[in-house]
């Protein structure tokens, strides 16, 4: 009971926390994605060719879905950790029998669930704009889960290191969004000049976006196996980093 119930309670609490504010967590990304789909899909999209068998809107949808997944998985773990430190109720967790492993898994699973729910909602919205040539839905689900696992670790790290709202927003503004937008969300990196193509391959989120697109619609710049390998390796590094921070109590225990 000292292992499973505390973990299960923390997981439920983390999931319920984003369920109680659906406008922020679910409706807002759906509206944003609808706007992207309208602009890039129905208006500009007809004039853009990405040099593949699929239309531009079919190319953009996987990127939009994964952007929703990544943004929300990151927001869930980072905000929850940061706000509980900022408001002081982190002590409510620190005095309980919840260990670092339970802690990290509860926050991670809650983040993955939120990411996948938002991703599914965006995918549902996209059905009103286009029909996707689905390649491998299970592999796509696996990549979305792995990508949200990876970014949830980054969220935990950001939530532990950040001491102000400005600091936590910097992770989104200066790290996450540039990496997502420059990771081939709106374009295949194959259309870029060789230097920028090479540089894009150092962007870890390129492998999540490209890998997800490859799994979902069968079009990608990189092999699916490479995308899984890179995303998996980065996930392990970030997980170990987050686990070390939680284990040592860095910025959590005085």
């Amino acid at each position: 009971m000292l292992y499973l119930l505390p973990f299960w309670t923390l997981l439920q609490k983390e999931v319920q926390r984003w369920f109680v504010s659906p406008v922020q967590t679910l409706i807002a990304p759906m509206i944003t994605s609808s706007l992207y789909l309208f602009i890039f899909g129905l208006s500009l999209g007809k004039r853009i060719s990405v040099g593949t068998d699929i239309t531009y809107i079919q190319f953009v949808v996987p990127g939009l879905v994964l952007m929703g997944v990544l943004n929300n998985a990151f927001a869930n773990s980072s905000f929850s950790l940061f706000i509980s430190r900022y408001l002081g109720h982190m002590v409510d967790l620190l005095v309980t029998p919840i260990g670092p492993a339970q802690f990290i898994m509860a926050y991670t699973i809650a983040s993955i669930l939120r990411g996948l729910v938002v991703g599914a909602a965006i995918l549902f919205i996209s059905c009103f704009f286009t029909t996707l040539p689905v390649f491998s839905p299970w592999l796509a689900l696996l990549m979305a889960s792995l990508a949200s696992f990876m970014i949830a670790q980054l969220g935990i790290i950001a939530g532990i290191y950040s001491d102000s709202f400005e600091a936590i927003s910097m992770y989104t503004t200066f790290l996450l969004l540039p990496l997502i937008y420059l990771g081939g969300m709106f374009y295949p990196i194959s259309i870029l000049p060789p230097f920028w193509q090479g540089l894009s391959r150092f962007n870890p989120l390129f492998y999540t976006i490209d890998g997800f697109r490859h799994c979902l619609v069968g079009v990608g710049d990189s092999a699916i196996a490479v995308s899984f390998a890179v995303t998996g390796a980065i996930s392990i590094v970030l997980f170990l980093w987050a686990a070390a921070l939680l284990g040592s109590g860095h910025n959590l225990r005085k």
């Binding site: 299960w8 109720h89 029998p97």
Partner: protein, 320 residues
């Protein structure tokens, strides 16, 4: 009433602290602290601001990292067996903190689960009833008044039926009604077997509630004893006498009571040490035909003990 874990299988002292040391930025806050608190006690940790009371509590509960020493709760080491010790402890921190996303009832259910304790609706409802939280159970916590938030904090500390309850300044800034209700409830759960450790700035509360008291100053324990024994340390009973008329001198036989005058000799104060008593002073005054209008005796309080031991006058501190 639901029993705490102390009534099941726990033996030995509720809390054993050995050579506990903690420093922040080179400044020692807790200095080689040793304490032993027996099961079933109500134990007071007193001391001026910065004495190390809250840091000690943070070290016991795991909010702060220990640098040296050890803490055992009912025989379990708080580092090696942290899951067991944290399950046994319920703590109400000095700062009112809560998760703003949840209602009172929901938050209590969550807290029970955090400790690996299945929700016990009867116990939860009893807490809600005893702490008068009934009308607010469906409200978000941030919508409660300050006093109600404090009541919620108490319920939160108790919802998993801890064997050791730690209350850090539970009555700071709360009204008389809540203070009375809180102490009545603490007495009740103590009778049911829960060991209680408390800090408070209201020394009269500690005097009434605690079986034993430790006084901390600059991170060290400067006195530990039963409340009664601590009171005996200060032989400062005084007798204050209002006379019929101003008197500049008193009979020499009263010198042993170290008389001092106020209001131009209208009021006299006498110190009573050891076996001395008020009757001896009054007998001399009557025999010398000095008219007495009013008398007042003052027994030593924990406040006097505190001042005597720490050298800190709390009335001056409060005034500042």
């Amino acid at each position: 009433m639901a029993k705490s874990m102390s009534n099941k299988s726990l033996a030995g002292p509720a809390l054993e602290i050995e050579h506990l040391t903690k420093a922040y930025s080179g400044s020692v806050v807790v200095d080689d602290l040793c304490l032993r608190i027996e099961s079933g006690e109500i134990y007071g940790l007193l001391g001026p601001n910065g004495a190390g009371k809250s840091t000690t509590i943070n070290l016991i509960t795991g909010v702060a990292k220990m640098q040296k020493g050890s803490v055992r709760v009912f025989g379990y080491d708080t580092v090696k067996n942290y899951r067991e010790t944290r399950r046994l402890i319920g703590v109400m921190h000095q700062e009112v903190v809560f998760d703003p996303f949840f209602s009172v009832g929901k938050a209590l259910r969550i807290h029970s689960g955090y400790y690996g304790v299945k929700d016990d609706p009867k116990w939860r409802e009893l807490l809600i009833e005893k702490l008068a939280l009934g009308p607010h159970v469906d409200k978000k916590i941030h919508k409660l008044s300050g006093g109600m938030k404090r009541r919620f904090m108490v319920a939160k500390a108790l919802v998993h039926k801890p064997a050791l309850l730690i209350l850090d300044e539970p009555t700071a800034g709360v009204d008389v009604e809540l203070r009375r209700a809180l102490w009545d409830f603490v007495s009740l759960i103590n009778k049911e077997g829960t060991t209680v450790v408390l800090t408070t700035h209201y020394l009269e509360e500690a005097e009434q509630m605690c079986d034993r008291i430790a006084i901390l100053n600059k991170g060290k324990v400067v006195a530990v004893d039963s409340t009664a024994n601590l009171m005996k340390q200060v032989e400062r009973r005084t007798l204050k006498v209002w006379l019929d008329k101003e008197t500049s001198t008193l009979p020499a036989s009263l010198d042993e009571f170290r008389p001092s005058s106020e209001e131009n000799g209208r009021v006299w104060r006498f110190c009573l040490a050891g076996q001395q008593h008020s009757g001896q002073v009054l007998q001399v005054l009557f025999s010398e035909r000095i008219g007495v209008r009013e008398v007042e005796t003052h027994s030593p309080s924990l406040e006097d003990v505190f001042v005597n031991i720490t050298g800190i006058d709390r009335t001056e501190t409060k005034a500042k």
